[in-house]
Amino acid sequence: MGIKITAAKKPRSRGTGLPGFGLTLGLSMTYMALLIFIPLSALILYSARIGPREFWVLISDERVMAAFKISFLSAFIAALFNFIFGLVIAWVLTRYTFPGKRIIDALIDLPFAIPTAVAGIALAFIFSPNGIMGVFLKNFGLELAYSRKGIVLALVFIGLPFVVRTVQPVIQELDKELEEAAASLGADFYQIFGRVIFPSLFPALLTGFALAFARGLGEYGSIIFISSNQPYHTEIVPLLIVKKLLQFDYRGASVIGVTMLVCAFVLLLLINFLEAFAARGKSR
């Protein structure tokens, strides 16, 4: 890997004469190599030994494709929910004052901080047909737990802070003079929102959306509790990997794993690009 080569060549450090360059770079590179790069290459090389034809047979399997479809679709719908509600919550928390605001602001990060298994059993319990929300929603003919809707529900919970936390600082820094100028020129609220506010929030919203989507794609803990985990119906990709491992189907697991890795890297690149785009969009 490129990193290791630069580490071995001991590149010159420019700008400062501060001590510890070689030592800190060497040690942290070694640690990252041992913990991250070598394990990653083990998986990639294992799946590379599987020929392209067999790779295709394994990945195009009907059950695998169904799981991919469910994972991508659920993550997308959940990220869309968060796009909307994340904006509403970020707006309410930055523009309005109301009692309990600071506590709510602190609690927004709960999905980040709470273990996924805890979130999983709590949501499954609440939305099960006998749970508080389940009983309430049954009156409207809605059953969320143990279905595809349950997966989306868990992912909305998991992804919420991503959108709120990326959009909040941008709302805070919105230039109020622009809004006032637009208002003094006779624009009504909808025009101001549509032409001034929303366009400046959009890059951040998109970043939050992508972060929530990426996280949703990989989420495992909270979903398996609230979904019925049925093949073709509510089986997500991470769960399928675990099941394949339990059946000692290592080839199948590695093929799905590598495909997920590629998706994750593409998303990481996209998010980096979006963040750079959002940073440029800010008039700083």
Partner: protein, 276 residues
Amino acid sequence: MIVPAINKEPRWIKPVLLFLALVFLAVFIFIPLFTIFHQALGSGLKVYFKNLMEPDIFAAIKLTLVVALVCVPVNTFFGILLAWVVTKFEFKGKNILITLIEVPFAISPVIAGLLFIFLFGSFGWFGQWLIAHHLKVVFALPGIFLATAFVTFPFVARELIPLMQELGRDDEEAAMTLGAKGFQIFFRITLPNIKWGLIYGVVLTNARSMGEFGAVAVVSGLIRGVTTTMPLYIDILYNEYRYAAAFGVASLLTLLALATLIVKTIVEHFNSVRKI
């Protein structure tokens, strides 16, 4: 009366948005929080503690603490090293390195566990060697340590890098011209400046290493009383319909999450005070 131009917002918007936000937060934050503690403590404190003192559950709590005790210091140490090298020096490939730090966050926890199966499992790179030497990594404690270290790796570095970038290196360079040595510079100049960010990074690392489920589930092998951490045991208890016990364990992890949020709020307070 002069109305500020900004108040063109129609009257209905504030109450509607506030209502929407609060309903959403009630469903996703407040009701789950209430449910966890209600179910855990519903049958009284005595039952609560009796559940937690059950030998296998107690073993799970102990194992979780041991995992954190191993992973948090190691990741803190290397997180500081990484942040130091990335913010104090200029070198080729630095930006790639900063991006690569985030890799464990981009990867599904299940894949993180999978990586170590393919490295140390019986068919993996070191599998046969490990079997020949009667060593076990996967389905044993070392695997749990590795998987946890993997998923919690970025936290400290990610908290410190933006903070140290903002602080710059003038203070350190000044100390150096005055004759301070490496560790003196770090402990006297850098550490006091990054104290709060570091504390938050460590707290996040700790919370995640105690709460990780997917990655640990893959490498654990689920041997009761031996390789089941608290989150894994929640799964077992829940599937056995032992809701009070499951939520009892969950309540401990929830307290940890709430403590994390409190630390975060404090850290943000101190950081904003310092900036002013």
